[in-house]
Symmetry: C2
Subunit: 276 residues, 2 copies
């Protein structure tokens, strides 16, 4: 049940709702915590059905609706789709059907990429679902039709990150395999089009070299959230500190501690909220 | 709705029901087709929620019950859990609650491994869920308490197989990383404890060397099915050829054609049966 506006605003501060297919979206939650420390955040990671990146638009949209509904039950005043695959394939459906504003991570990544490129050639890496959707390509073209986009699906990067092989010869070899064709095509900017990828920034930077600007949508997405809260007058007025509440749809979370360490984020107690 | 026994046996031959978290279980379906060509097989791959290997016992059991129920709706006379993670964590719950016999892939793998080892040291590779469950360790110990089991979780092998990197330097490096500690411990037999792994037999054999016997439960599981059908008098009496009907819970199936080619299996039209 969603709390009515008047009741929830009187009784408890309404959180920013954030969902992801799993743990990777904590990179976005971390950026929100840093930029907006007075806000409460309710995060749901769909670890029972992770990953989304190889699944169809229909399935990803169905899962996204279900998770959004759970966040509305928490009284969310705004929903952040902190998953590139879901942002690529379900964002407009959520925006047209939900009663609160919904932000994804693709628009902010596209804006940052267009601002960063000098050569006019931007690389995008992501899951199969994200890359095949063409969402980054469209968002960048809408901002500047002269910018060329070269995209590559990198399905092995998430499993490598979840295995914790962040600095590893195997990971370097896989990164080289995926990035080499993009570098050949003259990109000078690389969008990390999956919320896991910032955890692999070291290996990506080291292969791409200092001439390539890495764009990670987490920070830009947090800025977009800040602007939206402020323009709608729904920023937290609390003096005290905000909070982060993390729920997962499956309790197995070997990767959660990897992410917590890599992000320097205190996740605290994790709540279980089954789905499906 | 499940068909009543009398009705289904008069009207249509009852299939062998087979389910897996995804496509990998087609290795078992392929072995069944070869050994029992007169049988009809109804296969469901839960591609909407794949993979199971990093998920909890409770979630895997819940998904397994749902897929079994769908196979019973097809009139299945027997259910084969063609997924090691589900066999490890849900088999006994299914066996004690379903009205038809239920077979997993772990017992047949354990029998084959105990028969094959000469050194008395058996290696097992599988997903995190399978290895952490201790199911192979228990099954092998029950058959022969003198056999030592060394198990290793290999979470990157399934993504590598699904990327189609079956013969690849990266895959060789990952295989070496996972197998080296097992070889150090003196194994002479290696159980492929995940239905995807037979597709990687080349790389596994090449690193392990000819002194190591690879045990793949698909063929042994098919033999166990044959014995059970025969002992219960429920083998297909049809003269004509059997069939394979493949259903997936998500239509995305980049990997399906990789598996079809590697297995030499004609999958034909794929049916979509959503879950969750």
């Amino acid at each position: 049940m969603q709390l009515p506006d008047s009741q929830s605003s009187q009784q408890a501060p309404r959180p920013i709702g954030v969902f992801d297919s799993g743990i990777g979206g904590l990179t976005v939650a971390g950026a929100l915590r840093r930029l907006l420390p007075a806000e409460h955040i309710s995060y749901i990671g769909d670890t029972a059905r992770v990953p989304y990146g190889g699944k169809s638009a229909a399935t990803i949209e169905r899962y996204s609706r279900e998770l959004s509904r759970m966040l509305l039950d928490d009284g969310a005043k705004l929903i952040v789709v902190a998953c590139n695959s879901a942002s690529a394939l379900a964002l407009s459906a959520l925006q047209s059907s939900l009663e609160v504003p919904v932000l994804g991570v693709i628009q902010s990544g596209a804006v940052a990429a267009v601002a960063a490129t000098r050569s006019g050639c931007v690389g995008v890496i992501g899951t199969r679902a994200t890359v095949n959707s063409g969402a980054y390509q469209q968002a960048i073209r809408a901002l500047n039709p002269d910018v060329r986009v070269e995209a590559a699906a990198c399905p092995l990067l998430v499993p490598l990150i979840e295995e914790g092989w962040l600095e590893d010869a195997v990971t370097e070899a896989v990164v080289a395999r995926y990035l080499e064709p993009l570098l050949q095509k003259g990109i000078d900017t690389l969008v990390l089009g999956c919320t896991h990828y910032p955890l692999l920034q070291g290996a990506l930077k080291s292969y791409a070299g200092s001439g390539i600007i890495l764009v990670d949508s987490a920070k830009n997405c947090a800025l977009e959230v800040q602007a939206l809260l402020s323009s709608r007058g729904i920023s937290s007025s609390a003096e005290g500190a905000g909070s982060l509440r993390v729920s997962l749809t499956d309790p197995s979370s070997a990767f959660l501690r990897v992410a917590e360490n890599a992000l320097g984020l205190d996740v605290g107690e994790v709540h279980l909220r089954p789905v499906g």
